[in-house]
Symmetry: C2
Subunit: 208 residues, 2 copies
């Protein structure tokens, strides 16, 4: 076999990327707990077993770590979920698929979402503008599909914009209270929200 199981050679910049990822993940966890401002570089460094100053071999500044967190967690839904809205099927089914994907993504990257949701104000103006851009784009796409469903007579809501706001807030609020393996099961929440949002609130009928 071409990939030996015992030795893990792992190319130089593969390890580099891993290290970066490790720092980002650890930072997200600590930021989520103590807030971005309440965490020092030395504290982050401790979590990955190096010294504070060494972090600057991976990130040029503390804010860049936060930016990395916000960027991935804001870009991924755009790249992974939005295509689902372009797939075949009725607006209702496409939205239901998006809701499922969105919630599962939120669960998978829960802490990163918490940080991105709470610490936008700690970003550089430029970085913040970029993140906001992604968010607005996402929401606009959702609104457009809601509007399409209204035109198709599938949805009974009075205003697409308002429904889209409510929909997105419901989805994103999820990361504030959901914790894996406590009280509520993920798949139950996902299917429950599909029914609450697409089935009941928007008023779609038939299988989703």
């Amino acid at each position: 076999m071409s990939t030996p199981a015992a030795a893990v050679p792992l190319s130089r910049d593969a390890r580099t990327r891993l290290r970066r990822e490790e720092i980002v993940t650890a930072s997200a966890r600590i930021f989520a707990e103590h807030g971005y401002a309440g965490v020092g570089m030395r504290q982050i460094a401790d979590a990955v077993g190096i010294r504070g100053a060494s972090l600057y071999h991976h990130f040029p500044a503390k804010e860049e770590i936060l930016y990395a967190i916000c960027l991935t967690v804001t870009r991924e839904p755009n790249e992974e979920n939005l295509p689902l809205l372009d797939a075949a099927g009725t607006p209702a089914r496409r939205l239901a698929t998006l809701v499922r994907a969105h919630l599962r993504h939120l669960a998978r990257r829960r802490v990163e979402h918490l940080v991105a949701l709470h610490e936008l104000a700690s970003l550089t103006a430029a970085h913040r503008a970029e993140i906001d851009g992604y968010r607005r784009h996402y929401q606009r796409r959702v609104r457009d599909v809601v509007a399409a469903g209204m035109r198709a007579g599938e949805f009974g809501v009075p205003d697409a914009q308002l429904a889209a706001f409510g929909l997105c807030d419901m989805l994103n609020g999820f990361s504030n209270w959901f914790v894996e393996g406590r009280e509520l099961e993920l798949s139950d929440v996902v299917e429950g929200y599909v029914e609450l949002i697409v089935g009941r609130m928007l008023g779609a009928t038939g299988p989703l």
Copy 2:
């Protein structure tokens, strides 16, 4: 007349209270814009026309200002809105009344809500626990009324807890995007949300 219109005598500790209020309001505005950690005492002091050190005649610490913001904006809904759930009427109508009151409160204290929503991590552990307590209490009361509506056959939702989460997230998300006099009118949003949440999502029928 006993209250002269021209001169405004204003007792000593009335002025004191006003000053405190002024500091809190200004702080909320600046915190909302730059984040709690991004704002210094001197910056807050500038906004009310005094020097940084003078703030300590009104608050023993910076965190106490944040605490004051969070406390009022978290306690007020408990004291003003929750009694509405105990009033006469069906669960649906009582919930509709709560939604209206909640949204109007959010609009009135918009910036304070933004701060309280984003800066919980900057509070002392003790203060944070207290605020969390108020929030959980509020949500529990909402959930109970949803459950009551289910038992009465008014609501068609499958799970009261899940519906309550969605409901509260939709309500609170409101303060993230609503700005007075831009695009959407407050009363339209309020009535739209009453229909979206109580009418459509929960499935209440009849006038709300």
